[in-house]
């Protein structure tokens, strides 16, 4: 009798605990949109539109309390450049507040601070125990005076676990030509701008007003990066380079329009201090699987580049514009996704007159901190139709990626400003 009662009590307690656990798990209440937000996803996944910001939503970060910080490319009509959305239990979010008056791309949250960049500076904002910015009008400026051209001007960054910040300083050229993007225009000898751009600079997160003098040129020969992330498994920086354009239009005798549409590769690089990825002197040809000397610096499409330049960790088809890189460390998705990389390809333009490509989120499997196996398209359909993809007239363009506390994957669109959330719905 006693043991029966005891068993009943145990069962009741277990029931109560499981109910509580269920209530704590937000994904339980989050319902995918009937059309999965227009996305084509692998079996078992669903998606919803979290919000329509109507702004050029670049990168984002999601707090465990359900706030979403969205960095805008340009200040909106109200003059604000960081939106704070708050999610309801069903996953739909409303604008809670906004702050910042500078355009840019990057935003990140780590160890009690929100970090955000303009195109020349990096700021940090102290957050409270609910990850809310305490003083939105008075950020601390940690990096200042970075060079910015009209192209490749955004300052994406990644944070490591030792108090360092790694900032992209994109080159203000396509290929360091005497006449940028010009027909038959040769490369500037030695490409001297590499002293202050075309690479990743390392700064401290705990020091203020750092510039070139206080920073370290961590890696060079990188044209421009928008997607950057720190890999926790092997404690290393990974970046997605935007490969050069205009092989055919600058060098029509060496490259057909078809070759120029595919080349060069969009490269994933694993970077160590002192690495040189070779821009503008070379590019990576993913069809020949070789580092090729750039035509601006004596190349002919076949001559191999100096072996001192590092190889990419993985190479993807040309011009697809990788704007977001995220290592997935969550537990919501099936095991194969854990520690792999999601890459948001913003979509091409320099493939014309060939059909455009991209406008999707790719999954790259990883094993022990290294790419392992073929990449696959994970989320497609942002453009609206295959015809819109081919014409480069996409409805939505995936840009930033973030992981929610429950392991959901968030994607921004910087064309119409839609915020997507992708969840695994199969039990």
């Amino acid at each position: 009798m006693k043991s029966k009662l005891f068993r009943l009590m145990i069962a009741l307690a277990a029931f109560a605990v499981s109910i509580t656990l269920y209530a704590l798990k937000p994904v339980g209440d989050v319902i995918p949109d009937a059309d999965n937000a227009g996305l084509k996803l692998p079996d078992g996944f669903g998606a919803l539109k979290v919000a329509e910001t109507g702004a050029k939503a670049r990168h984002l970060v999601v707090t465990p309390q359900g706030d979403i910080y969205v960095k805008l490319a340009r200040p909106n009509k109200e003059g604000k450049s960081i939106l704070v959305l708050h999610e309801a239990p069903n996953g739909k979010a409303e604008l809670k507040s906004s702050f910042g008056n500078y355009g840019g791309t990057e935003v990140a949250l780590k160890n009690g601070y929100l970090y955000a960049s303009s195109n020349t500076e990096v700021f940090k904002y102290k957050v409270n125990d609910k990850n809310e910015v305490i003083n939105p009008d008075q950020p601390e400026k940690i990096v200042t005076g970075l060079k910015a051209g009209r192209q490749h001007e955004t300052k994406s960054f990644a944070l490591d676990n030792d108090g360092n910040i790694y900032v992209n300083i994109g080159a203000w050229f396509n290929a360091c030509q005497e006449k940028d993007r010009g027909l038959h225009s040769p490369g500037i000898p030695g490409c001297p701008i590499l002293d202050s751009m075309g690479g990743v600079w390392q700064f401290r997160t705990d020091k203020l007003n750092q510039s070139y003098g206080e920073g370290v040129r961590y890696a060079t020969g990188l044209r421009n990066m928008v997607g950057m992330d720190w890999n926790q498994q092997d404690n290393q920086l990974f970046v997605m380079q935007h490969g050069r354009d205009n092989l055919n239009s600058s060098w029509p005798e060496l490259y057909t329009t078809k070759q120029s549409a595919e080349l060069p590769a969009e490269c994933l690089y694993a970077l160590k201090k002192g690495d040189n990825a070779g821009w503008p002197f070379m590019y990576y040809d993913q069809i020949q699987h070789k580092k090729i000397q750039a035509p601006e610096y004596g190349g002919d499409g076949k001559k191999e580049a100096d072996a001192k330049y590092i190889d990419p960790a993985m190479a993807y088809p040309g011009h697809m514009a990788p704007n977001g890189l995220l290592f997935y460390t969550g537990n919501q998705f099936p095991a194969k996704y854990k520690n792999g990389a999601f890459i948001a390809f913003h979509g091409s333009w320099n493939r014309a007159p060939e059909p455009q490509a991209g406008y999707f989120v790719v999954f790259q499997p990883f094993k022990n901190g290294k790419p392992d196996g073929n990449w696959e398209v994970f989320a497609d359909g942002f453009s609206g139709s295959p015809e819109k993809t081919a014409a480069g007239r996409a409805d939505h363009r995936p840009c930033g990626l973030a992981q929610g506390a429950d392991g959901s994957l968030y994607v921004t669109d910087d064309s119409k400003g839609t915020i997507y959330r992708i969840i695994y719905t199969k039990k």
């Binding site: 009209r150 940028d180 993007r181 333009w349 320099n350 014309a352 007159p353």
Partner: protein, 149 residues
């Protein structure tokens, strides 16, 4: 069944190849004639402009400006001719939007070619602006001072 499919395929191939062969023939024949005829604005556009401004002239958001419904194309002819001659790398908003890519100088094009391509752009992609003449390009080129790139 499989054999039948094969036949259908072969027959299909024959039918689709006949017009292809005919096309190739006429192309080869017409080439010297095309070379002698007037400069094709469309041809120049496809060779030098399309990569950035796209097949529909719609440009690329945030990067390369569209050529449709835009003041730089439809307005002042001298300014437009100068963009082709000198390229464009000004940090300005164009009709409320900013575009980051640099346009290189196309001063290697002949006056006649620039006139043809600008006339083509001003009369296509839903544009309905007047033509630009070779004389107008020539006049701008002689007084042109290089400003960009």
């Amino acid at each position: 069944m499989a054999r039948m499919k094969k036949y259908i395929l072969i027959i299909g191939c024959i039918f689709s190849c006949v017009p292809l062969i005919a096309q190739v023939k006429t192309k080869v024949k017409s080439r010297p004639v095309a070379g002698l005829s007037a400069v094709s604005g469309k041809g120049i556009y496809e060779k030098y402009c399309l990569t950035c401004h796209q097949a529909d002239g719609g440009g690329v958001p945030n990067m390369n400006p569209p050529l449709t419904k835009i003041s730089y194309v439809l307005g002042d002819k001298t300014r437009l001719i100068k963009v082709v001659l000198n390229g464009f790398s000004e940090s300005v908003d164009i009709d409320g939007e900013s575009y980051s890519n640099v346009m290189p100088s196309h001063d290697f094009l002949k006056d006649q070619e620039i006139a043809a391509v600008l006339t083509y752009v001003r009369k296509n992609f839903t544009n309905k602006a007047g033509p630009i003449t070779t004389a107008q390009v020539k006049a701008v080129r002689t007084t042109n001072k290089k400003k960009y790139n």
